[in-house]
Symmetry: C2
Subunit: 89 residues, 2 copies
Amino acid sequence: MSATLPPPEGWKSVQQPPSLFRRFEFASYGETRAYLDRLAALSEETGLYPDLGFGPTHVNVTVYGADGKAPGAREIEFAGKAAALALPG
Amino acid sequence: MSATLPPPEGWKSVQQPPSLFRRFEFASYGETRAYLDRLAALSEETGLYPDLGFGPTHVNVTVYGADGKAPGAREIEFAGKAAALALPG
């Protein structure tokens, strides 16, 4: 990340680190909840905690790299597992 | 910007350059339109074209730095002028 000048008064300085994003859709609230539970278990297992947003039938997953860097092999592996967990079982 | 690995299939790689953001509110659609016109003139004058989003009574302005770099003195000066143009005249 490069150094930034302070924003002018009234403006917000926006600096988002690179990430991987995916939206997962589910048929019901119950399935959404079950996916969130599986995702939580995966996070505890891997130590990798993505940003999550969800509604009744969807979950938005944003995976950041470590220390503001681009997502690397570890995050890509996590993303693959997170996607597999969303498949109907 | 650091090099990134390609995202896994189905995922979107998100890489937003740093920016300055501000939302301007207006009392009417006419005032919003008038502001957009003034902003367009400022862009032509300065050669600096921010990203714009607007509704009937608001305009969201996002100013990026050049070449994916953080906003610098030129962008900060533009932001100041853009804010001044939004003041009720």
